[in-house]
Symmetry: C2
Subunit: 208 residues, 2 copies
DNA sequence: CTCTCATTCAAACGTCCGTTTGAACTATGC
DNA sequence: GCATAGTTCAAACGGACGTTTGAATGAGAG
């Protein structure tokens, strides 16, 4: 074989991303995952240790490039000077929508998975997501506060969680009753609409 | 007994609201519900027919007063004249947060339940929520369009789903990592912050 | 008191769950 | 060729799941 076929471990992560994103953690069985991945049921516990450990590995892998890109953009913005709220919002939203929605067939799968995990019913699972995005969160909050000196810190935090929540909802497609009706037709357009929506809310909708 | 004790059916609905709101549909077993409700496991199928039918009954009961209040406010606004975007947003958000967060101990439980169902991983369950709010949705979309003549219909719809999604996220407490940290300290303040946030986004953040 | 009908009950149904086991396979290094 | 370590496999584990059954219980009507 020229192209080395995906390893069992990689196939499990790929299918787990897809299925967890479609049905949630509780709603997806290891058997469904292993059958789709053409792997034995015991492979999950061999490679990862447990169902939750598989989820953790998938979350880490999926979030890594998004966080890297967000850090890169923050560095870049801060190197230039004082970033505006719009620049910061753009630096947060675009890595979540563009980067992830654009790269091949797996993009939408990863986006949906991330969005789903972000507001899973179980708090322990939501914390997996939060732990991955925590490192950049503090930087965004501080930068947003500087860009919006008139807003109270609670208001900046309020805007941030709204931004994070709306992004996750759009990523998971939970807002579009008809799957992929308007969202996937042009991810760039969705990103621009969402950014414009949030910029207006941040600039004029936060209390002093 | 002076106060007639809750019927088994009512206890099941109350506990189902609470547990489904905490753990989601898949993450909550009928046994957990019936034990907490001090009912026999067979009572669910006797009174409702199945687990999903219990959920349907709970969704209907929880959404009814919210929808009634929204209709009442829409009627009232339209009787006076052409409502503004802020009035419409307020008429949508407040029944979801105030009315439901304010009445006794059950308020937060109902709010959390509704918010959780609104973006459940399973599309079939999300549609239960959508079906309940569909009747008023068309009226809101039309009224918002009239209040924002400069915005394209897709943009108004985009704003509406964002409003609906943000409300659901705040209702379900999925946005507050520490449970009830800032949200429950003053539901009225949360409502005002959310309304201000959305008004700014609707007024200036929708594309023409 | 007796019949009736709605409700509750303990118990069991078959199925699916996440996890574990121990043997079989595979490739690499000696 | 043989040992070795990494991986895959069929099979089974105990337990939890939603649902069903049929008998027991209760209150109300005649």
């Amino acid at each position: 074989m020229e192209t080395p076929v995906e390893s069992t471990r990689e196939r499990l992560l790929n299918i787990a991303e897809q299925r967890f994103g479609e049905g949630g953690y509780e709603g997806t069985s290891l058997r469904a995952i292993t059958v789709a991945a053409a792997a034995n049921i015991a492979a999950v516990n061999y490679h990862f240790g447990s169902k939750e450990a598989l989820l953790r590995a998938a979350v880490s892998r999926a979030m890594a490039p998004v966080n890297t890109e967000r850090r890169r953009r923050l560095d870049q913005l801060e190197a230039i000077g004082q970033p505006t709220a719009e620049q910061l919002i753009r630096a947060f939203i675009e890595p979540g929508l563009d980067l992830v929605l654009r790269r091949g067939d797996r993009g939408p799968v990863v986006a949906r998975f991330i969005g789903r995990i972000a507001f899973d019913p179980s708090q322990r699972i939501r914390e997996l997501y939060a732990a991955e995005s925590d490192p950049v969160e503090a930087r965004y909050l501080a930068a947003l506060q500087q860009a919006l000196p008139g807003a109270a810190p609670e208001s900046v935090a309020f805007g941030y969680v709204n931004m994070l929540g709306l992004l996750a909802l759009h990523q998971s497609l939970a807002l579009s009753p008809v799957p992929g009706a308007d969202e996937s037709e042009d991810p760039g357009k969705l990103a621009e609409s969402l950014i414009a929506f949030l910029v207006a809310a941040f600039d004029r909708g936060l209390r002093n």
